[in-house]
């Protein structure tokens, strides 16, 4: 993990609060369908409009998803949990209170990757406000209208312990969480559409201290990049304050991704006494063995965090690569298909050693670099089988690493079989046994007697230009190690 550019005298302490819209068919407490971008206020009923006399009924599917999330995060699932009313006035909250879980949530404890989970609870989403006028906020807008289609969408709130120590870690962990939720199939987890929303609690303290500093809450970081940038900006702001001898004030800040600035929310918008009390319209939520069994049955075979561990421990992948493949499931899936192909393909080609998973794994970032960092390699022209074949050819020294990179570019452009491309383009490796290579080595030595003399004297740094000469002459078809060996043979006997 790289460190931030901020002062090393302070260390950041970061906790995240994530809201996840559940991908149920209907809303949390009524039978209205979930929707996105439909005409406003068509998915409404007395309950989600907060009409007089209407009552909430808990969506069983949302509970099911909540339990699955709890299981995936290793939480304790409460046999009995409570819904509370969280009271505040706002036009997006038709009842004047949000039904949420408070001191007896569905899930407590747990861990995902290297971050502990504090709690996971269920609640309902607010409606969507639209403001006309220049302010873009309700205060001072000419007119505001409310779209209740979103109101009552089931939400899960996941609160971490303050275990995160850098903006990069925050971003990476959120990606892990997203992949985990994706794998569970409980949410769209699309930050740009708001189905995954993240707030961050940020404080800093002198490095090595165990006391927590005053924290601020950052809102509106609706992409992984914004999260990283927002947290970094806030760490810098707090560091600057402390370095100036000033104090951090506990407040809620709005991150503007355009300007990169942090502005405090008006105190009116945050100074709430929510007057929580148990929701008398609902009975306690009792999770029986039957519901637990049903949730366990719907759990995926392997969650991303487990997959990362397997990639690292069982397949010997570098830790960063293991996490990358596990957290970006499409990369992991592609890798595993290529790995299977390499096995089935007879990876011990030419009597050489087996293709190591780690060796194969190195080719995936190469591929991703060529198709665009967000693209799914499975949709590219390069099949996992042909990538495996290419890696195997490199391993067997049938093609040099440099030539293979060229082959990969061709594969990305036109697809097809790597072996055929190597033949067609004449990119097959030139080996020591090949007389042509010995001749080129001799020419290299002749072309630069000064360098040759230094190598002869034992200065291996001077070998570079000679190797470069051979590489150029062979158009990269010869293996660098092989060339070095041949040059030393000639000059050092």
């Amino acid at each position: 993990m790289s460190t931030t550019s901020t002062s090393t005298a302070y260390e950041p302490v970061i906790g995240l609060e994530i809201h996840v819209q559940l991908d149920t068919r209907t809303k949390m407490f009524c039978g209205c369908r979930l929707s996105f971008n439909d005409p406003p206020n068509i998915h409404t009923c007395p309950t989600c409009l907060g009409l007089p006399g209407a009552l909430p009924v808990v969506n069983e599917r949302a509970i099911h998803f909540g339990i699955m999330i709890g299981l995936a995060l290793g939480c304790d699932i409460a046999e009995r949990s409570l819904f509370h009313r969280k009271n505040y006035f706002y036009p997006d909250l038709p009842k004047g209170y949000q039904i949420s879980q408070y001191d007896v949530p569905l899930c407590r404890g747990g861990r995902l990757g290297d971050v502990r989970i504090h709690r996971v609870h269920l609640e309902e989403d607010a409606a969507k406000l639209n403001h006309l006028g220049t302010s873009g906020r309700i205060h001072g807008s000419d007119r505001s209208w409310v779209d209740f289609n979103r109101g009552g969408t089931p939400l899960v709130e996941i609160v971490t312990e303050p275990d995160i120590s850098s903006p990069e870690q925050a971003r990476e962990w959120l990606i892990l969480l997203r992949t985990t939720l994706q794998q569970l199939g409980v949410s769209d987890v699309d930050m740009s559409q708001g189905s995954l929303r993240c707030d961050a609690n940020v404080s800093i303290r002198p490095a090595g201290s165990t006391r927590l500093g005053t924290k601020t809450e950052l809102k509106n970081m609706n992409s992984f990049a914004f999260l990283e940038r927002g947290v970094r900006a806030e760490i810098e702001r707090q560091t600057h304050l402390l370095e100036q001898g000033e104090a951090v004030v506990q407040e809620t800040l709005h991150f503007d991704p355009v300007s990169g600035g942090l502005t405090p929310l008006r105190s009116k918008e945050e100074a709430h006494d929510y007057r929580y009390f148990p929701e008398p319209d609902l009975v306690p939520l009792v999770v029986g063995e039957e519901m637990m069994t049903a949730a366990r049955a719907d759990m995926p075979v392997e969650l991303p965090a487990e997959r990362a561990v397997r990639f690292e421990r069982e397949l010997g992948l570098h830790a960063d690569t293991a996490r990358l493949f596990a957290f970006r499931a499409e990369l992991g899936d592609y890798f595993e298909r290529a790995l299977n192909a390499a096995g089935a393909d007879g990876s011990r080609g030419n009597g050489g050693a087996a293709l190591e998973p780690a060796e194969l794994s190195n080719w995936i970032p190469q591929l991703v670099e060529r198709i665009g960092s967000d693209a799914d390699p499975a949709t590219s022209n390069v099949t996992p089988e042909s990538l495996a074949a290419l890696a195997t050819m490199v391993k067997a020294k049938e093609v040099s690493r440099d030539a293979a990179r060229e082959v990969l570019t061709l594969l990305v452009n036109e697809g097809g079989d790597p072996r055929a491309i190597v033949e067609r383009e004449g990119l097959g490796a030139i080996t020591a046994e090949d007389n042509g290579l010995a001749e080129i080595v001799d020419k290299a030595i002749a072309s630069d007697p000064a360098a040759a003399e230094q190598v002869r004297a034992g200065n291996m740094k001077a070998i570079g230009p000679l190797v470069g000469y051979v590489m150029r002459e062979t158009k990269g078809r010869a293996d660098g190690g092989e060339i070095t060996r041949l040059i030393r043979e000639r000059l050092q006997g």
């Binding site: 009409l51 007089p52 909430p56 009924v57 009271n87 006035f89 409310v146 007057r275 008398p280 609902l282």
Partner: protein, 475 residues
């Protein structure tokens, strides 16, 4: 026509089924009376009988029902006695009203009530007070005062009310009719404009015990729209008992002692009723409900706390009254609620908001819930020895309009004997036990959860033996 209105609902249904009376004629007889209501009991009256047949085949025979204003009725004003909902016509109908309609009891009209069911005299209505048909200078009780007055005056054969802390039983007592608060959860609350969700229950206000049983039978049952509603075990039976042989009645000295402030005339009628019960074969003993005297204090924390949240939705944004806020949201909220809510509603919202406030929750709401649990346990213990607990329904008879409006605490004490049962969630019925100075007195029987059929049986035997004549206000 006047002969028609002398029939109880059960008798009328019987005649309609036998083809002796046309449901439409019965409807029109009551409709005409309700439309010329002098008691301010109605806030809305149907213009004509419904077109859907004559109800002869339905169990309730087409006998129309008056419904407390706070029940949502599709397309019909449902204002919960509040100016903030003036003219509000909901897009759906409350479950119990729909069940009664489907059982053959069409909507006759909507009845006046204390605003959001907060009151014991019906003087808190945004649409004016209701007058007691026994004496129009007096209150009918509340909050279901319109329902009680309408039934007592023969403006409706029967009515639906709601009881949160006595709001069916107390007006039934003050108007000389029968009122039953069912077990909490027996009837769906879906479509009842909420006052205090953990206490509100719908129930019948009727001329006699048989009518109460008949109506209740078609109200109870689990509703998938109300998570707190329950499957009613068995069916509400038509009461037939003529004696009380073997029944053990407990008189809770903690409620009927000096603290209850029971008027001499009420006590006299209560004692006389106990004597009747004994004659019918019941045994009568005093019993203890040690925490019951604290019920009123606990109730006035729990109910306002829930109300403060339940009434937050009346914010001027989506329906009902909106007073312009000069482009400022908070100003719009406060002006709307300032103008739309009456004084008692505001008082209770403030009480409830305070009771739930950070730092006060444990001391107020938390403690009140503990008291509630204690009271529930008191009743459980008492029901190990007694079949029913009996008290007067209200410590006093109908009082003069305005007599208690300046003294909220005196007003709250009207429910001293009714609130403990509400907090315990148990069923209780009030039947007329006689007159005191020409005004009706109510006798209350309370039983364990889901004991309604037995309770109705006992009430039926007493009713027959007492022989109360409630016909005077119908003249």
């Amino acid at each position: 026509m006047s002969g028609l209105i002398d029939l109880t609902a059960a008798q009328a249904a019987e005649r309609i089924r036998a083809g002796k009376v046309a449901a439409a004629d019965l409807f029109e007889a009551y409709r005409a009376r309700a439309a010329s209501d002098q008691l301010n009991a109605f806030t809305w009256v149907a213009e004509a009988a419904p077109q859907t047949g004559d109800g002869a085949n339905a169990p309730l025979g087409g006998v129309p029902v008056a419904v407390k204003d706070l029940f949502c009725t599709e397309g019909v004003p449902s204002q919960s006695g509040s100016k903030i909902l003036e003219g509000y016509r909901p897009p759906y109908t409350a479950t119990v009203v729909a069940k009664l309609r489907d059982a053959g009891a069409p909507l006759l009209g909507k009845t006046n009530q204390d605003e959001f069911a907060m009151g014991s005299s019906n003087e808190n209505s945004g649409f004016g007070p209701v007058f007691n048909p026994w004496d129009r200078s007096r209150v009918p009780g509340g909050s279901s005062g319109g329902s009680a007055a309408a039934v007592a005056a023969g403006l409706a054969p029967w009515a639906v009310g709601t009881d949160t802390g006595g709001s069916i039983r107390q007006p039934a007592a003050l108007c000389g009719i029968v009122g039953l608060k069912p077990t909490y959860g027996a009837c769906s609350r879906y479509g009842m404009i909420a006052f205090a969700s953990s206490l509100d229950q719908a129930g019948p206000l009727t001329r006699d015990v048989t009518d109460a049983a008949l109506m209740l039978r078609h109200m109870v049952g689990h509703d998938r729209r109300d998570s707190t509603s329950l499957d009613y075990p068995g069916e509400i039976e038509v009461p037939r008992a003529e004696d009380l042989k073997g029944l053990r009645l407990g008189v809770p000295e903690d409620l009927t002692g000096a603290e209850g402030g029971i008027e001499p005339g009420v006590r006299e009628s209560f004692e006389a009723t106990l004597a009747v019960a004994e004659r019918l074969g019941a045994s009568i003993e005093t019993c203890r409900l040690p925490h019951a005297p604290h019920a009123l204090s606990a109730y006035y924390l729990i109910a306002p706390a829930e109300a403060s949240a339940n009434l937050a939705r009346f914010d001027g944004v989506r329906y009902g009254l909106r007073v312009d806020g000069d482009k400022d949201l908070v100003t719009m909220y406060s002006r709307t609620r300032e103008v739309g809510f009456g004084a008692e509603v505001k008082r209770r919202i403030m009480l409830g908001t305070y009771a739930l406030s950070s730092g006060y929750y444990d001391a107020y709401y938390g403690t009140a819930q503990k008291v509630r649990t204690k009271i529930t346990e008191d009743f459980k213990t008492a029901f190990e020895r007694f079949d029913f607990i009996v008290t007067p329904t209200s410590p006093c008879t109908a009082f003069e309009l305005g007599a208690k409006t300046d003294d909220p605490l005196a007003m709250y004490l009207n429910d001293f004997l009714a609130v403990p049962m509400s907090l315990a969630g148990i069923p209780a019925i009030s039947i007329p036990s006689g007159l005191s100075d020409g005004l009706p007195v109510g006798f209350q029987l309370a039983g364990p959860a889901f004991s309604e059929s037995r309770l109705l049986d006992a009430a039926h035997a007493l009713e027959r033996a007492i022989g109360f004549d409630g016909s005077k206000p119908r003249q």
